[in-house]
């Protein structure tokens, strides 16, 4: 019986039983045909059930027996050559582990459905079209009054659920001294019941909590937060917590495993949407809208209904726009409403990391394939060494299937051990990668359960890997011709062809991995080296809030207090730290002309801020202490270029939303504003202190102290500064301290992650390919030592021998590298979105991997070549 049908027998015992029964039936039919009595014939044969059991046992048990024998034999084979086996197992383990790890990340972030009832019925509402900056974009931010209209319009067909963007906020449980941070999310009161969730403690939010603005200050904790912050203390119910000016009462704890609808962020505290001041503003876009279809309702009619309401509301809203260019108004009204499946939740991290994770998954899969090719070559070389053993087995009657099984069981051992170690590697590495995603003080929280999905993936991967590297050598080993093998003259060329082909494949994959890695590394380097336009050196950003908005003079007092501290070089104020992701923008016009359709970006700064940030004033002057918004501004060169045709704008003015002219008093060079990737944006800086229409100074509720320290490690002063701010004025509280450097680096987290991991896997791929190349060369020298001996005896030079030994393999490496190049060019458009100012056709990008592979190939070829030219013809020929 063939190996396959035996394997099939184990998994399909029914079929085996049917076959046995059929044979017995055929026996009885035959007996009757020969004139025997049916009953007698049946009795003579015996009870069919027992017979069937006996025959089945014979077939299955024998197979299991042989499997056990092969397993023991395979284990001994592995143990015989510990070093090679360990190398094979480790390289496979690294590949399997990396792939499993990548799968865990992808699964957790992109594939795993939310732990809610019928996640497949969940959609997220979004508007697609040309955005205010003039580019195509999808926005899933919504406005509450419109949400309420939409909700009642589709009632009966679908439930609409508002879920705000998760934000990390300050809160206190007891005294105001102990500020801590947590992720909060405003959600519709009916979210929990729509999702079919049950409380772990107390109660969840209900619809009644979410009908009147600011009426029900109730909070529900997530199970995870309850566990980490309160050690699952049941007395947490009815405790209060303060966020901003609001005091909330904890009413319950959510179910285990539910951490909100944003994969990558674990929500700690859920609040009713009605507690957010945005509920009454028709122009605040601050939450996502989830649409949960009722059973049996189609998506499209619901979408059309919502689209009509949305269009009417947008048209109404556009009527109130002042100072918006005509084209942008058109774009605003021509957005399309879409419903996107949201079974896996919706998060910014999904969008940011989808392409990166896919690219990484392909890289690690390639590394695994390289490792497989290595092990396949190793097994092929071993099969050659064992050709005589195989021949002997064949001549004493072993079937071909039996030999395939023998070799495959050995492969199975390798794969199994590798899967074990790889599993450990995946268990360790996936959380490490997640830890690298956000800055250390605020890590991404992605749940990485090791459940049946991961196990199943690991198992399937292990079996696939085993067949991939084990099947070809096994089939080859089993096709041994006893006569020629026992005579010692087995034709080695066929075997070498397989090994050479695998070398070419390895070279191609290795080139591809290195090529992509070099693209990522170059991207990260260019982003890191991009001039920001200011100096982040020794700079601390103290984001500060006050209990009630405070007059600008008090903010100045605190700044003065900080300035007097030892170790502080300069202190200045701005509305938010530069590059923190916060921004304000709008359309401006000059000389009473219609507004330009280019967005300008705004920021409020105190006098001395430019100096503190080391942004030089190239024209005009800095603000004076008595200057206020909206009277004066300092603009950057891009602003001058866009709105004043590059002429010196100092002394001229511009308008916003029909405001009185704002006078430009200074000109500064371009600096980064919101994102280091963005090209220079036109920016206008305003004074921090502003006056209303009546000329009264406005109090300020939050701003950021930018402190440049004397010492080289600004964080050393963080706690002192935090304390001193409150000491200077008790109403002031620092809510967040970061170094400007950390803020800058947070923009390249993804690129750094990609560059690091791609570089790591590039090196692993190079190492594995090098080991593979070495193995094949070594083997071919060993195989051809007779031939080399004869050539040398006939007078061949060392150079000839070296060329002869390496020529085939090197042409394979070259062919592989060329194929890799073609693959690289073909695949570069899939990673283009992840690159920054890097061209794949850049000669440097191509030369680096090519030279690396060539260098590695030369290095690994050296020892076998030396061995080849050192062959002593006399000894070799005598030994044969």
């Amino acid at each position: 019986m063939s190996w396959w049908s035996r394997l099939a027998n184990v998994f399909r015992p029914d079929r085996l039983s049917r076959e046995i029964d059929e044979e017995f039936q055929s026996h009885i039919d035959e007996a009757i045909e020969h004139g025997r009595d049916p009953v007698e014939a049946r009795r003579a044969l015996g009870p069919p059930l027992r017979l069937r059991e006996q025959s089945r046992d014979v077939r299955l048990v024998a197979w299991l027996d042989s499997l056990r024998a092969d397993a023991v034999f395979g284990w001994r084979q592995l143990m015989k050559k510990k070093a090679t086996s360990a190398a094979a197992i480790l390289s496979l383990a690294l590949g399997i582990g990396a792939c499993t790890s990548a799968f865990r990340l992808i699964d957790a972030l992109l594939l795993r459905p939310l732990p809610v009832a019928e996640p497949g019925e969940l959609y997220a509402l979004a508007r697609q079209g040309v955005g205010p900056a003039g580019n195509f974009r999808t926005s899933d931010a919504n406005e509450y009054p419109l949400f309420q209209v939409e909700r009642s319009a589709v009632k009966g067909q679908a439930e609409l659920i508002a879920v705000s963007y998760a934000d990390r906020t300050d809160l206190t449980y007891g005294s105001d001294e102990e500020v801590e941070k947590a992720y909060r999310q405003f959600v519709s009161g009916w979210m929990f019941s729509s999702f079919g969730l049950r409380p772990a403690l107390g109660r969840l939010l209900i619809e009644a909590d979410d009908l009147k603005p600011h009426a029900h200050p109730y909070a529900v904790l997530s199970y995870d937060y309850w566990t980490n912050r309160f050690g699952r203390d049941p007395k947490v119910i009815e405790r209060t917590l303060r966020m901003g000016d609001d005091l909330y009462e904890i009413v319950g704890v959510g179910p285990e495993g539910f951490t909100g609808t944003e994969p990558g962020t674990a929500i700690d505290i859920f609040l009713p949407t009605m507690m957010n001041p945005g509920v009454t503003h028709s122009d605040w876009s601050w939450f996502r809208t989830f649409v949960k279809l009722r059973p049996g309702v189609a998506v499209e009619p619901v979408r059309e209904r919502l689209a009509a309401i949305n269009q009417a509301a947008q048209e109404e809203r556009a009527k109130g726009f002042v100072g918006v260019p005509k084209q942008r108004l058109e774009d605003f009204l021509h957005q399309e409403l879409v419903l996107e499946p949201a079974a896996t939740g919706v998060s910014g991290m999904q969008e940011d990391y989808r392409a990166s994770l896919a690219a990484l998954a392909v890289l690690v899969a390639l590394v695994l394939l390289i490792a497989c090719a290595n092990v396949a070559n190793l097994m092929t070389a071993q099969a050659a060494a064992r050709a005589r053993e195989m021949a002997l087995r064949v001549s004493i009657g072993a079937g071909r299937g039996r030999l395939v099984q023998l070799v495959l069981v050995e492969s199975g051992w390798l794969a199994l051990l590798a899967a074990g170690i790889g599993g450990l590697f995946a268990w360790w590495s996936a959380p490490v990668v997640v830890g690298m995603i956000n800055p250390p003080d605020n890590p991404a929280r992605l749940f990485l359960p090791a459940d049946w999905r991961v196990l199943l993936f690991g198992l399937a991967l292990t079996i696939a890997v085993m067949l991939l590297f084990g099947l070809a050598p096994a089939v080859r080993a089993s096709s041994v011709q006893p006569v020629s093998a026992l005579k010692g003259g087995d034709n080695p060329h066929a075997r070498r062809r397989l090994m050479h082909a695998l070398i070419a494949v390895q070279a191609a994959f290795c080139f591809l991995v290195l090529f992509v890695a070099s693209l990522f590394v170059a991207t990260f380097q260019r982003l890191s080296n991009r001039p920001t336009g200011f100096s982040a050196d020794r700079l601390l950003a103290l984001e500060t809030i006050t209990q009630r908005p405070q007059a600008p003079v008090y903010w100045d007092q605190v700044a003065e207090h900080l300035r007097a501290l030892p170790g502080v070089e300069t202190v200045a104020l701005s509305s938010w730290p530069i590059l923190s992701g916060v921004g304000a923008n709008g359309y401006v016009s000059t000389n009473g002309a219609p507004p330009s359709d280019v967005l300008a970006y705004f920021m409020n700064i105190s006098p001395g801020w430019l100096n503190a940030m080391k942004i030089p004033v190239v024209g005009g002057r800095d603000f004076r202490p008595d200057e206020v918004f909206p009277r004066v501004a300092i603009v950057n060169q891009e602003f001058a270029k866009r709105f004043f045709e590059g002429r010196n704008p100092v002394g001229r003015s511009f308008e916003r939303k029909g405001s009185p002219p704002i006078q430009i008093v200074g000109l500064v060079p371009d600096a980064c504003y919101r994102d280091v990737r963005e090209p220079a944006t036109p920016a206008a800086y305003y004074p921090l202190q502003s006056v209303d229409d009546n000329g009264a100074l406005q109090p300020i509720a939050q701003a950021t102290f930018m402190v440049r320290t004397v010492g080289s490690n600004p964080l050393a002063m963080a706690s002192t500064l935090r304390r001193e701010v409150t000491r200077a004025r008790p109403e002031f509280r620092v809510s967040n301290v970061r170094t400007q450097l950390e803020i800058n680096l947070s923009h390249t987290v993804r690129e750094r992650l990609l560059a690091r991991l791609a570089l790591f896997f590039g090196l692993v791929a190079l190492l594995l390919a090098g080991v593979g190349l070495y193995g094949v060369l070594d083997y071919s020298v060993l195989q051809r030592r007779r031939e080399i001996g004869i050539r040398m005896a006939l007078g061949a030079q060392a150079v000839d021998v070296a060329r002869r030994v390496t020529a085939d393999v090197f042409s394979m490496v070259l062919a592989g590298a060329l194929a890799g190049l073609a693959l690289g060019f073909a695949s570069v458009r899939y990673v283009q979105a992840l690159l920054y100012q890097v061209k794949s056709t850049d000669p440097g990008m191509l030369a680096l991997p090519a030279l690396t592979i060539l260098g590695a190939a030369l290095l690994t070829a050296l020892p076998p070549v030396i061995r080849a030219v050192r062959i002593d013809p006399a000894t070799t020929l005598r030994a044969e």
Partner: protein, 109 residues
């Protein structure tokens, strides 16, 4: 009538021998052949024939194939493999050694 089981290993030997003379027989035909050739002195227990056939198939001494006969019925036909041929030779010589030893004992006693 002696049970084949009491003659250790004789069933295997007979099946192999019969298959070496007449390849491609189904179970019933093998059973009938044992009866015919031994002049109905030996009769293979039908209940032990099939487990024996399946065991020998597993040991790769014989191989089996399903065929559809002219009558439309399917039958499983057995034939000897190379390994089976070797096994037969070995069993045959062992059998000869055992029976001649037993015969010697019978003569001398």
């Amino acid at each position: 009538m002696p049970k084949p089981d009491s003659l250790q290993g004789s069933l295997d030997l007979m099946v192999l021998k019969i298959l070496s003379r007449r390849p491609r027989l189904h179970g019933y035909a093998i059973m009938s052949a044992i009866g015919d050739m031994s002049g109905d002195v030996l009769r293979a227990e039908e209940g032990s024939l099939y487990p024996a056939l399946h065991r020998m198939e597993e040991a790769a001494w014989i191989r089996a194939q399903w065929v559809t006969k002219d009558t439309g019925r399917r039958a499983r036909l057995y034939e000897l493999t190379a390994a089976g041929r070797k096994q037969l030779a070995a069993e045959e010589s062992r059998w000869q050694a055992v029976t001649s030893a037993v015969n010697r004992v019978l003569r001398m006693a």
